[in-house]
C-alpha cells in the first residue's frame, strides 16, 4: 500500500437515464499494486473503466492522474499520459497483420506520427518492440497474419498485448482472461503478475482463480456501488460479497 498513487477516481457517478451505473465511486490505483475490481454482471465495472480512460464522461466526480485532474481530457490525451486499457469486447485492427497491430500500438508511444516520409515497416525500433510483445503473448508465429484470421482466444491475447505496448504506467484491463483457454490463463496470470512492480493495474475479471492469485487489493462493485474493498482474504471471507457475487462453491471451481 505504499506505492505512489497514479490514478484516482473521486466520487465517480454515471447515470444512464433512469439507471445509476456507477454511484459515487472512490478508487486508488498505486504503482506496484494490482487492484482487482469484481462484481456481478452489469455492476458497472466496464462503465467505470470507460470513465477512467476517458471514453465516457462521468455524470459527476473527478479522475486524477498523479494528482492532476484529467476528467476533461479526451481518451487519446489520457492514453498519452500513460493510461492504457484493454477492451472486454475484443477491439483489434482486424484487417491488419498482428505485426502491424502491435507496431501501431508501439508507435503511439514514440512521439507524434506526423512522419510522412520514411517507410514505417522499416523502422527497426518499432518492429523489435512489436516482436517482443508478440513473443510475450505467444503470438510470434502469427505475426504476418491478419488479426481477423486469429482464433478468438488469440485475438484476446492480442487485445491485451495492444494495451501493454509502450509500457504505460496505468493499465486498465477489462477481463483479459475471458476467452483464453485454461493453459493460456496460467501464462497470462504469470505475465500480469510480472507487471506489478512498475505499473498500477486495475484488473476487472470474473476468473476468480486469477483474481485471487494476482490481486493485492480487491474492490467489489454491486449495482454501481462499492460494497467492499480490501485484501483477498478479507473479500473472500466477506459474507456480503459471497452472497452478491462469489457464491459458495466458487472456490472449489477455481481450484480445478
Amino acid at each position: 500500500m505504499s506505492g505512489e498513487i497514479l490514478l484516482q477516481a473521486r466520487g465517480i457517478t454515471k447515470r444512464y437515464r433512469g439507471l445509476l451505473a456507477n454511484n459515487n465511486i472512490d478508487l486508488d490505483l498505486r504503482r506496484g499494486e494490482i487492484h482487482a475490481l469484481i462484481g456481478p454482471n452489469g455492476a458497472g465495472k466496464s462503465t467505470l473503466i470507460a470513465q477512467l480512460s476517458g471514453e465516457l464522461e462521468p455524470s459527476a466526480g473527478q479522475v486524477l492522474f498523479r494528482g492532476r485532474e484529467v476528467t476533461a481530457l479526451p481518451v487519446h490525451r489520457r492514453a498519452r499520459l500513460g493510461i492504457s486499457r484493454s477492451f472486454q469486447m475484443t477491439s483489434v485492427f482486424e484487417e491488419m497483420t498482428v505485426m502491424d497491430n502491435l507496431a501501431l500500438a508501439v508507435q503511439a508511444h514514440h512521439g507524434h506520427s506526423f512522419r510522412f516520409w520514411r517507410a514505417a515497416h522499416r523502422c527497426q525500433a518499432l518492429n523489435r518492440e512489436a516482436e517482443t510483445l508478440a513473443r510475450r503473448f505467444g503470438l510470434e508465429e502469427r505475426l504476418h497474419q491478419p488479426a481477423s484470421a486469429l482464433a478468438h482466444g488469440e485475438q484476446r491475447q492480442l487485445e491485451v498485448a495492444l494495451a501493454l505496448a509502450g509500457d504505460p504506467p496505468v493499465l486498465l484491463l477489462d477481463e483479459p482472461m475471458a476467452g483464453i483457454g485454461p493453459g493460456g490463463t496460467h501464462e497470462l496470470t504469470r505475465l500480469l503478475g510480472g507487471l506489478r512492480e512498475r505499473h498500477a493495474v486495475l484488473l476487472v475479471e470474473h476468473d476468480m482463480q486469477a483474481v485471487f492469485a494476482l490481486a493485492d487489493r480487491i474492490t467489489v462493485l454491486v449495482y454501481g456501488e462499492v460494497i467492499a474493498s480490501g485484501s483477498v482474504e478479507a473479500i473472500r471471507a466477506n459474507p456480503e460479497v459471497r452472497r452478491a457475487y462469489l457464491g459458495d462453491d466458487s472456490l472449489q471451481e477455481a481450484a480445478c
Binding site: N41, T90, G183
Partner: protein, 233 residues
C-alpha cells in the same frame, strides 16, 4: 442424433480442420475441448452452417447438413449460442428474444418469453434496453435465452460462460444441468473443465484441427496427463 465424419474446413487458403469426427446421442451432453485456435469454433460453425465444410459428412437425425444454408439447419433444430455473443445491438432485449422465437422441436414445455425471463430475471429488468446497452454478462444471458427461444433440439454452446460472474456462471451451469435433465441434447465448448466434465457424457479433444482423443467424460476427468498435454492444465 449428430454424427460428424471426416470434417474438413478452412478459411481462404488455410485449412483449419483436417478430418474431425464426433458423435452425439439424443439427450446427451458432449464437450468439445482444446486449446485456443485448435478449431473448436470452426467445428461448431460447420455444424450450424456458418462455415461451409470442404469435405466430410454432418448427419443430423438422418439429414445431412453439410450443404444446407444456416437457416435451414436452424429450422431443423440446431440452436447456437455463438462465441462473442453476437447480440443484435439495435434491437431491444425483448426484441432480441422475440425475433428468435420459434418451435424447432416439439417440446411439451416450450421455451417462451416468460420462461426465459424466469430463468434470467435480469433480462426482464432490462427488457427495454437496446442490445448494446447491456453489460457483457447480461449479453451472455441474452444470447443463451435467444437460442432457447428457438426451442432447439440440439443446443450448441460456444464459450457460454465467458465473462460471467461466478454466481451467474453457477446459475448458467445449473441451467445447463437442468436442460440436460429435461433431455436437451447439448454440444458445448467451455474452458471451465471443473464444471463441464462432470456434467458431460462424452468429450472430444482437439489439437490443431484433428481429434486426438474422445471418449467418456469421466475418463478424461481422471486422466490428468491427457489434460496437461492437450489443455495445458
Amino acid at each position: 442424433m449428430l454424427t460428424v465424419t471426416g470434417l474438413q474446413a478452412g478459411y481462404g487458403d488455410s485449412e483449419v480442420l483436417h478430418g474431425v469426427d464426433l458423435e452425439l446421442r439424443e439427450g446427451e451432453v458432449a464437450a468439445l475441448l482444446g486449446r485456443n485456435g485448435m478449431g473448436k469454433t470452426t467445428t461448431l460453425h460447420c455444424i450450424c452452417g456458418l462455415v461451409r465444410p470442404r469435405a466430410g459428412i454432418i448427419d443430423f437425425d438422418g439429414q445431412s447438413l453439410q450443404h444446407l444454408p444456416e437457416w435451414r439447419i436452424a429450422r431443423l433444430g440446431v440452436g447456437l449460442v455463438p462465441e462473442g455473443r453476437r447480440i443484435f445491438p439495435n434491437l431491444s432485449v425483448e426484441e432480441n428474444l422475440r425475433v428468435a422465437a420459434a418451435h424447432h422441436s416439439e417440446q411439451a414445455q416450450p421455451w417462451t418469453l416468460e420462461r426465459v425471463h424466469a430463468l434470467f430475471p435480469r433480462l426482464r429488468e432490462r427488457r427495454r434496453h437496446a442490445g448494446n446497452q447491456l453489460s457483457g454478462g447480461e449479453q451472455q444471458m441474452l444470447a443463451i435465452g435467444r437460442a432457447l427461444m428457438t426451442n432447439p433440439r440440439l443446443l450448441v454452446l460456444d464459450e457460454a460462460t465467458e465473462g460471467l460472474a461466478p454466481l451467474i456462471r453457477d446459475e448458467i451451469w445449473a441451467v445447463i444441468e437442468g436442460l440436460k435433465a429435461q433431455g436437451q441434447s447439448i454440444l458445448i465448448v467451455d474452458k471451465n473443465l471443473g464444471r463441464l466434465l462432470p456434467l458431460a457424457d462424452r468429450y472430444v479433444l482437439m489439437e490443431k484441427g484433428c481429434v486426438v482423443s474422445a471418449g467418456a467424460a469421466d475418463d478424461l476427468l481422471r486422466d490428468h496427463e491427457l489434460q496437461a498435454r492437450y489443455l495445458g492444465v
